[in-house]
């Protein structure tokens, strides 16, 4: 059985499934209980599972993440919601110094399998600090898994996988896609890999890498490229940002010889750099063009009246694709 769900509904469904089947799973955070989350991702769950399993916490992110680590140490599987990704800043010490290292430090004796869910990214006319993309900070931190789904099906399957894997997972939810469309989503449990990228279109001429809310942008740009130039882009949704699915990345560029990477985080030291660096090391002989990044500019995400210009647009991605396919 499947239903058409949007991403918020799919995420709620994943939490519902695991809360029902695994009594170690807890949901906690600011406004996740009575209010059902500011995006309603936890709507109805407290009514169903009670206030001991779906918990409104004080307004303190270090407290939320730090106590989740303690809950995980002692047998639970906490799923902590950070209301918007940048509000994880006060909790970064707990993430960097502890969640990521508990297993390593104790040589496997203690582990911290928690999931930190957070809406991320711009494009929803949010106030300041409601639009950040920080994936490269987490990808640079050994011990963490970092994932970002781009559609309701993946969101549910990946969140279920995240609640089952024995590592801490940073689960990035592209706010802009929360209600951007629906998909057939199976009822009950299913898993989507936390390590595999997905090839969304087959292409010959250029590889186009994206994740989260940039996936639809990449797809539109690829379509446009096909229409305008009759050239085909291979669009790859990375899904897992740490670890990266190197095999899929490399094999695509080995075929196309060209790569464009799209992300909405700032360009400098963003995750696009890592992908470009991988290619510049291991696929350099196949490269037939410069590797282009189309990314958020190296400025703080600006006030919402101009945020669209901060973000990679279809036009900017298309321009990047054209530069690359016309190079040589």
């Amino acid at each position: 059985m499947t239903r058409m769900l949007n991403m918020v509904q799919a995420i709620r469904d994943a939490l519902d499934v695991k809360l029902a089947e695994d009594n170690r799973v807890l949901v906690l955070g600011e406004d996740v209980g009575v209010n059902g989350g500011v995006f309603r991702a936890t709507d109805g769950l407290q009514d169903k599972y009670g206030p001991e399993r779906v918990i409104d916490t004080p307004l303190a992110e270090s407290g939320i993440i730090g106590s989740s680590i303690g809950l995980a140490l002692n047998g639970f599987r906490p799923v902590a919601e950070i209301q918007f990704l940048a509000f994880i800043f006060p909790g970064l010490e707990q993430v960097f110094a502890h969640a990521a290292r508990m297993r390593y430090r104790t040589r496997g004796r203690f582990t911290a399998p928690l999931v930190i869910r957070a809406p991320y990214g711009a494009g929803i006319r949010g106030p300041e600090l409601h639009s950040e993309s920080l994936e490269s900070l987490f990808a640079h931190t050994p011990g963490l898994r970092v994932v970002a789904p781009s559609n309701p099906y993946d969101a549910k399957g990946m969140l279920i996988s995240a609640m089952e894997v024995d590592d801490p997972v940073i689960f990035l939810e592209p706010t802009r896609l929360y209600r951007a469309g629906t998909r057939d989503v199976p009822e009950g449990s299913y898993r989507v890999s936390l390590e595999k990228a997905e090839r969304l279109t087959e292409g010959r001429d250029v590889s186009l890498f994206a994740w989260g809310a940039m996936v639809p942008v990449a797809l539109r740009a690829a379509e446009q490229l096909e229409k305008e130039q009759g050239l085909s882009a291979e669009v790859i949704d990375l899904r897992s940002l740490m670890p990266l699915d190197k095999e899929t990345i490399l094999s695509s560029v080995e075929k196309t010889g060209r790569a464009v990477i799209v992300h909405e985080a700032h360009q400098t030291a963003g995750l696009g750099a890592e992908i470009a660096a991988l290619l510049a090391d291991e696929a350099v002989w196949c490269l037939r063009a410069p590797i282009k990044r189309v990314a958020g500019f190296d400025v703080p995400v600006p006030p919402f009246s101009v945020e669209d210009a901060y973000l990679p647009t279809t036009e900017r991605v298309l321009a990047g694709l054209k530069e690359v396919v016309m190079a040589e």
């Binding site: 600011e30 307004l59 006060p90 282009k292 189309v294 500019f297 919402f304 900017r316």
Partner: protein, 370 residues
Amino acid sequence: MLAENELLQHPGFTSAAELTALPALRVVQPDGQANEELLSRVSDEELIAMYQQMLRVRLFDRKCIALQRQGKMGTYAPFEGQEAAQVASAVCLANKDWMFPTYRDHAAAMTRGLPMQTVYRYWMGQMDGFSVPDELNILPPCVPIATHLLHGVGAAWAARLRDEDTVSFCYFGDGATSEGDFHEALNFAGVFHLPVVFFCQNNGFAISVPFARQSASPTIAKRASAYGMDGIRVDGNDAVAVYLACQTAIHKARNGGGPTLIEAVTQRFGAHTTADDPTRYRDQAAMNEEWRRERDAVQRLRLLLTSKGLWDDNREEQWIAKVGNELVNAWEEAVAKPFSEPIEMFDHVYSKMPAHLEEQKKLLAGGGLA
């Protein structure tokens, strides 16, 4: 103003050494009856000015909600219910003082002189909505909860190091008291004995989370003792009580008496923001009823003024008309002003634009890739 020791001896106040769950200081009752002795510390002109400002900001707030509903502004954080707390505190500050507001404290900022137009522009997501006139030391609304308390501490520290008598005044909510930065700020202020006032509007909720879930301590003022500072709990819907408490704390800070934590107990009458639905987490109908009966700060002050013969329907009408014009004019100016250009996003990132931003700026200007 109250003398400092007079304040400390009033039953509503307490020194750090004696803090326990406290009754709050109240001067004016919901029906407008006042403790005349305390009321006499405030002049009629001050009372009228506060009332006018409270009514002005309330009308502004309602206008913003309407504009947001029409799609002309982004998500907006209303403050209706908190007018006394914000206005009666802000009037106590001088231009040279430093004010650190949150996203809900534009009533306070406007009271200190922030142009209405700027506030409109802020909620329209325009870049100049974050600009502050040169003569005012008001920071833009702080979004990450409790972080600005430390900026208040630092600015106060700077004043003390230069032997200036300026004061930092920090606004924050009950939810903010749970963040680590609240603790670190109060601790620094206590240790360095700084001229800062921590002004908490305890409106009982952090979005949907009630105060009892923020803290096992029944009051916020009580926490002052953990930092060796005095705490004051006031009825935040009583403009006169707020005024006296703030004036005293500011005077004390200005004169080397160190920091104070003020808890103004109030209510947010409406939603957390225009994106919020308060009926999900509280009985809004009951709240409305109770609030109108005994919590509405604007009404309370009006009853007082009326009973003292300082205000009447006629003056009310005229004032509303005047503010109505201001609201419309300021809005017209706000939308007449050029909107932010995307290209401005490259300005002010650094004191001097580095090469990579020059490049990115050129690319955006040229419609290029980036």
